[in-house]
Symmetry: C2
Subunit: 200 residues, 2 copies
DNA sequence: TCTAGTTTTCAACAGATGTTGAATATGTGC
DNA sequence: GCACATATTCAACATCTGTTGAAAACTAGA
């Protein structure tokens, strides 16, 4: 038999960072299957290591999920600053463009993982609420000095969450393949009205 | 010991329809936990019967899910007819009002169950696409004789799916508690523009 | 080279899961 | 009443889950 394919025990050469390999594999599998659907053995297998490595490096499946998916990859304040930078009557367009650009870069990765884990995982709904709503939209609505800022923020959330769902999770065509700028032209006015327009 | 609480074997009195009890319990549990999160034992326990009844009456967990959640409770054609009945320049408002009214009646039940099962269950994304998109929105857009009917249909889907997500799944306040007619006034114009307005 | 420390695999665990076959108790038709 | 059909529970199954303790293999320093 081919001994080369056998897994060898013991410490490896310093280069093969298995911790990073696990994080990368975990992001993939959590995106595909959600927290419950993903198994420690799947993740370890894809990373090419034993399942026990998850507990060794991250303590538990939970710890791996927290480090792989639950942390926000970009600074929310920096994001809000970027969104507010420009004419106020075009902020709706900038929001759609910015989110789609960020999400498209990873195929919707983190967003999909969160959605797919809403059931299983405790912190997911909280993270969605905190980051997506409180940290971003509520900050924008208050910064712009709008009335009914909470309601405006949540209505904005409906449109953006739905956009992410349809484009990345359920893949409704042709929207899933529509260019970003086309969607900006269609959905931008909606966001603009939700933010600065009359609500009735 | 109290013999009354003991479970008795054998055929029961004709009145206690355990099949219906299982269906009702299944809807509850599938809504709360999704397909994977729900266990046969949970459902059976809530229905007050043994877990083996699921396989006896529905063949498998899969079969129970299909009959409890995956089937559409209302006739899509009837729904489309109802939505098209009225002035064309108010159909966006009617769509929002109709969906919210139907969903609110069950606390978003079926919608939540589908969303919570998107990961686990094969047919869920297909059902969402078929019913929600092809059967309803595409039918409306073509019936109204609009250009780019597919794209309009999917954009409408983003808004309605997102509305359902925020109101019933992640419960963002204050939107989750906002009266239907307020939301109709806010989101109705969006749907109207997605359907009959200019897209650029 | 010897020793200490760390990384990794291995083997096993305890619990939960969907499913199945048999035993049992109840109805129903004669 | 008696025989048959069936609804129901029970017990067990094989499998999969996350986790753990220990053994093994490797690296690094003295």
């Amino acid at each position: 038999m081919d001994q080369g394919t056998q897994k060898r025990r013991g410490r490896r050469a310093a280069g093969e960072d298995t911790k990073s390999a696990l994080l990368a594999a975990a992001r993939e599998v959590f995106v595909e299957r959600g927290f419950d659907g993903a198994t420690v053995r799947m993740i370890a297998s894809r990373a090419g290591v034993d399942a026990a490595m998850v507990n060794h490096w991250f303590g538990s499946k939970e710890g791996l999920f927290a480090q792989a998916v639950l942390q926000v990859p970009i600074d929310p304040n920096e994001l809000v600053r970027r969104l507010l930078d420009g004419p106020a009557d075009e902020i709706g367009y900038r929001i759609v463009r910015t989110f789609l650009t960020i999400w498209d870069a990873t195929g919707g990765g983190q967003f999909v993982a969160l959605i797919r884990s809403v059931t299983s995982h405790e912190g997911v709904a909280k993270v969605l609420r905190e980051v997506f709503l409180n940290t971003i939209f509520k900050q924008i609505t208050t910064e712009l000095g709008l009335d009914q800022s909470e309601l405006r923020a949540t209505v904005c959330a409906t449109q953006m969450v739905g956009l992410g769902m349809v484009r990345y999770v359920v893949h409704f065509e042709p929207l899933a393949s529509t260019p970003v700028e086309t969607l900006v032209g269609m959905i931008g006015p909606t966001m603009q009205r939700y933010l600065t327009g009359p609500l009735a």
